[in-house]
């Protein structure tokens, strides 16, 4: 994987002038395509990063596999965040899992697309325990419900807050100014 490392290192220091949709896929993508071709629904390689769009039902399987498979070994979940594409878009939400491998030093992004009326996805707390707080934050700010989470409640906003603050249809200044009474 040293070529991968050099690739990414170079991209970080002096970025290419155009996002690379390279014809020759990186070794990581090649290994993915070789070993599990039906999962890698869509693989995007841009800005020196690999994004894989995975269907919602397989996310737990994929994460467990990626954590232990010898060619991947993604044992570190760097980040779990969600993005809202806007209330008119279908699918509305995307949940991104940023993975990092402690041993092989490569990175990967998994993306799950969710609809507005059914924002449920399986929790990956069983795979990486750090997902616990990340999923709580995603639930709090975006309203995405993680099935099977041991303790899904609000973490940043007050417990009696109504609404999910980071959605595009939530106004910036909130619904009413603060008053003590």
């Amino acid at each position: 994987m040293s070529k991968e490392l050099e690739n990414k290192g170079q991209t970080n220091v002096q970025a290419e002038t155009t996002p690379s949709n390279s014809v020759t896929p990186s070794p990581l993508v090649a290994a993915l395509r070789r070993e599990k071709p039906d999962w890698a629904g869509e693989v995007i390689e841009a800005f020196g990063e690999v994004t894989v769009i995975v269907p919602r039902e397989n996310i737990l399987e994929i994460c467990s596999y990626l954590k232990t498979a010898p060619s991947f070994e993604f044992n570190f979940l760097a980040d779990l965040c969600a993005a809202d594409r806007g209330p008119e878009e279908e699918p509305r939400f995307e949940v991104n899992y940023h993975l990092f491998s402690i041993t092989k030093h490569h990175r990967l992004r998994l993306k799950v697309l969710l609809n507005d009326d059914d924002p449920h996805v399986q929790t990956v707390t069983g795979v990486w325990r750090t997902a616990n707080w990340h999923e709580r934050e995603t639930f709090d700010l975006m309203g995405i419900i993680f099935d099977g989470h041991p303790d899904l409640r609000r973490i940043l906003l007050p417990d009696d807050w109504e609404g999910h603050a980071l959605r595009k249809d939530f106004p910036l200044r909130g619904y009413e100014p603060y008053s003590l009474t």
């Binding site: 760097a78 993005a83 991104n96 325990r129 973490i155």
Partner: protein
């Protein structure tokens, strides 16, 4: 002697209810900010601890979506307010990655220099407050005295002590002032002595050792599983430093050692950070020697503000300046995740752009957020006074946790 009690004493056979729930509230001198811990105590021993955060939630991620890319740099200062240049760097580099800009050599060297100075400053605050919580008040004053020197340097370069916003998309705000190298050299000459002073005060101190050794242990597998990064991970024996694994801003050209300790307790994390300060000192020495005259902004007139002189004399520079400030520049569509090694761990920025002048989503992966989630595991079975030591060793900043 026979164990027959006099008749008026009866043996109570049911267990007494000795557990109490205490809120180590948001206003507390030792929680390093507005953090609330719900502790379930059995006497002095902590049975379970649950952090309750959100008392400093500022809605920064929502604010980013309403501000142009350049305006967002100011907000990043207030996130991890002990390491504002690091936050700036992460945000700016993510935007540069999307735009595909090439940063000139001098700007990269200055970025490394300022970031490492900021790392020393952040570790000094950690040292001062950690020692203050454990009881060594002198170290607080000594550390802040050293920190004043660094803040003066940062203020000379950028105008702000705590919220510099020195980096811009495409380079720096402006070049270093004259005489800056001499002042940095002066600081570099004085700093090793100060570091020796801290070691004299703390590292050989039996009280400090007793309060930190064996406390807050976390193993390497658990640390990786809980997502710890930075000194917390390196204190448990895992050799990961983003400056080595995914280098940025030219870090691969510098010669420094990644400090790793094996014990995994508060003492190990303390030693990692002390050694890191020394390594940062080394990097600053190297960066200072590499400074060559040159441009500090990338050659991209649509993105980078022109020089004031050029703006006042040339028409196209004026037009560019006006357009960049009034309308912003369009960033190509896409998403990036850019991690840097902040003083607390892996600070990652996830930036998603829809092609307009404002980002569609900016998410900061704050290292303190993840480090704090491992606190319940570290604090099992320790005493209340040890919780204070553990929080100090995690080096949390609530601005980053609550964003």
């Amino acid at each position: 002697m026979s164990a027959t009690l006099p008749p008026q004493f009866e043996v109570i056979d049911r267990p007494l209810d000795t557990q109490m729930t205490i809120s180590m509230g948001p206003q507390h001198p030792s929680t390093h900010g507005v953090l609330r811990l719900e502790l379930i105590l059995d006497g002095e021993m902590v049975v379970k601890s649950t952090p309750d955060i959100g008392y400093l939630h500022t809605g920064m991620e929502k604010l980013f979506e309403y501000k142009k890319y350049q305006q967002g740099i100011v907000i990043t200062d207030r996130m991890d307010y002990l390491n504002p240049l690091g936050n700036n760097l992460a945000y700016v580099m993510a935007a540069e990655k999307l735009l595909g800009l090439e940063i000139p050599e001098r700007a990269q060297t200055i970025r490394v220099l300022m970031c490492e100075l900021q790392r020393i400053a952040s570790h000094l605050v950690w040292l001062g407050t950690h020692a203050l919580d454990i009881g060594a008040m002198t170290v607080f004053f000594y550390a802040f005295r050293e920190r004043e020197k660094i803040l003066n340097l940062i203020e000379a370069a950028s105008g702000g002590r705590l919220t510099p916003s020195y980096f811009r998309i495409g380079g720096l705000m402006m070049d270093l002032p004259s005489g800056f190298e001499r002042r940095v050299q002066q600081f570099l000459n004085d700093f090793p002595e100060a570091l020796e002073e801290f070691h004299t005060l703390l590292s050989g101190n039996r009280i400090f050792q007793k309060r930190t050794q064996g406390i807050g242990y976390i193993s390497a597998e658990d640390a990786i599983d809980w997502g710890l990064a930075g000194p917390c991970l390196r204190g448990s024996g895992v050799n990961i430093d983003i400056r080595r694994t995914n280098p940025y801003t030219g870090y691969e050209k510098y010669d420094f050692e990644v400090c790793v300790e094996q014990d995994g307790d508060v003492w190990a994390r303390y030693m990692v950070r002390m050694r890191e300060m020394k390594e940062s000192h080394k990097i600053v020495v190297q960066a200072l020697s590499r400074l060559q005259p040159g441009p500090v902004k990338a050659d991209a007139p649509k993105v980078v503000l022109p020089d004031r002189e050029a703006m006042k004399t040339h028409m196209d520079a004026l037009i560019h300046h006006f357009l960049i400030v009034a309308e912003g520049f369009d960033v190509p569509e896409g998403e990036v995740y850019h991690p840097i090694e902040a003083s607390k761990g892996e600070l990652g920025v996830y930036m998603k752009s829809n092609g307009g002048p404002k980002p569609a989503r900016v998410h900061f992966r704050g290292p303190s957020f993840v480090n704090l989630s491992a606190l319940p595991q570290m604090a099992e079975g320790c005493m209340v006074a040890d919780i204070v030591a553990i929080i100090g060793s995690l080096d949390i900043v609530l601005g980053e946790i609550d964003r």
